[in-house]
């Protein structure tokens, strides 16, 4: 197992409140890692430290290291570069309402760079295909991204993150606002994604974690309680808290 992200002594605060306490974890490459734990335990804070978005919140502070392929993202790297390498999908689908479906997919490339129209259009089509949205929207490419259904919007947002060709993709409860059919599509997609990239996904649904992830990290009150292969976490958790959480006795 190649390590993609090596998190060392990570601490995070909101003003005085410490939201992450000394987190150490090695996230393997090209696998799906699920992050679980009760509400407020620091899951979102954890993944937002991995693309340097935590520091944008007023009062936020971070200490520790996050090595991406051995290079500390809190070192000399430009935070913008970090975010291009580490993509993110949010709980609420957030396509750009001022852009068409096709433009939404390549929004990052378009806003940043000097791509030719032809290249952009090809990349847009390809990424829509890889999230399984192409057949559904191929006649509506010029419509606003906000005109799609919630589930379609979320896959559009995944396509938008994928178009940047990220090395890691972070997902913060990407299906919690969606219906069961859309959720199933997102889950299929996540399983497929690990062929190309490393996925870290937060979920409130422990069955979902069991279905789609290779590794599972359980957080409680800002601490990483247990990190192991998903099968081990669900069949023989080492920590009492983990067991109580996955069996639904709290959270």
């Amino acid at each position: 197992m190649q390590t993609k992200l090596d998190v060392q002594d990570l601490n995070a605060w909101f003003y005085q409140k410490q939201a992450l306490k000394n987190v150490n974890v090695k996230i393997p490459e090209k696998m799906v890692t699920a992050v679980i734990g009760p509400s407020g335990c620091g899951k979102s804070t954890f993944i937002r430290c991995i693309n340097r978005m935590h520091e944008l919140v007023p009062g936020a502070k971070v200490s520790g290291k996050v090595l991406l392929d051995g290079a500390d993202i809190y070192g000399t790297m430009d935070p913008m570069d970090v975010r291009r390498k580490v993509g993110m999908v949010f709980q609420k689908p957030n396509p750009f309402p001022n852009m068409s479906v096709a433009d939404n997919v390549v929004a990052g490339l378009k806003l940043l760079g000097t791509y030719k129209k032809q290249e952009l259009s090809e990349l847009s089509d390809a990424n829509l295909k890889s999230v399984g949205l192409w057949e559904e929207v191929k006649d509506d490419l010029k419509k606003s991204g906000a005109s799609l259904s919630g589930g379609q919007q979320q896959r559009l947002c995944i396509a938008r993150a994928l178009a940047m060709n990220p090395e890691v993709i972070l997902m913060d409860e990407p299906s919690s606002a969606l219906d069961p059919a859309s959720t199933a599509k997102i889950e299929e997609l996540v399983k497929k994604l690990k062929n190309e990239t490393t996925v870290i996904i937060i979920t409130h649904n422990v069955q979902q974690a069991a279905r789609i992830s290779d590794m599972t990290a359980f957080f409680y009150l800002g601490e990483l309680i247990e990190f192991d292969q998903t099968a081990n976490i669900f069949e023989s958790p080492k920590n009492q808290l983990t067991e109580r959480y996955i069996t639904g006795r709290f959270g």
């Binding site: 693309n51 978005m53 944008l56 913008m80 570069d81 970090v82 975010r83 291009r84 993509g87 993110m88 949010f90 609420k92 957030n94 396509p95 750009f96 309402p97 001022n98 929004a107 990052g108 806003l111 940043l112 509506d140 010029k142 419509k143 606003s144 005109s147 947002c157 938008r160 993150a161 940047m164």
Partner: protein
Amino acid sequence: MHLLSRKRKETFVKILCFLVTAAVIIPLLWIIGDVIYNGLAAWNISFLVSPVIQGGIGNAILGTFIINGMACLFGIPLGVLTGMYLSEYGQEGWFASMVRTTVESLSGIPSLILGLFAYATIIIALSQSATDRHYTAIASALALGLMMIPLVGKATEESMRVISNDIREAAIALGVPKWIRTTRIVLAIAKGGVLTGSLLAFARISGETAPLLFTALFSNFWPTGINQPMASLQVLIYNYALSGYPNLVTQAWGAALFLALIVVAINIIVRVYTKPKYKEGF
């Protein structure tokens, strides 16, 4: 008994509301009716298209549009930049609160004072001597443009501020720098509000007379450039209405009708434009 008195009270309040509303609406309808009735009496094609020297108001219509246009050229970009700064950059800190206070003060300054400012800076600077003042429409545009900044700024700030933070976060997560996010995502989404605010600001300055009186002054001829005295509907109405000559007073009504139509047209455009759309897509 108790119920009955309650019902009576309600009826009383209803009647009172009706009377107050009528008291507000009747004078308004009266003014509009007066302007239309008296204004139409002056109107014919040649009145609208010939210059003052030939008994028309054509050069004043053109002058109002040129002066307003120049004011927009300067007031809208500065207003948009100010609004953008206040919404996306200036949440806290002494500079932001200074900008905010300045904008608020600017919106409270009487237009007469802005006209005086334009007079003191531009007219006096360009003049040869105190007896030979160089009046110019550019100074009017400066005064009106200054009026537009807080109007456009507030509209921009408000329409950017209501945009959900989720959208900003989406752009941040793609590694898009703040300047590009602000202009090409947030401002682009807010552009309807910015346009509405700009149109309303245009309507607002169309009625301003004081700042034009001693800057653009007046002219009886078609304008041949912008750095010269220029007629405007506002000053024409002011001059003619006070002239005492019945035919000029009629012409003042005619000009007033045109000015009123500009303002009404803008308000209708804004209404239609901002009507909620149920159609999907853009």
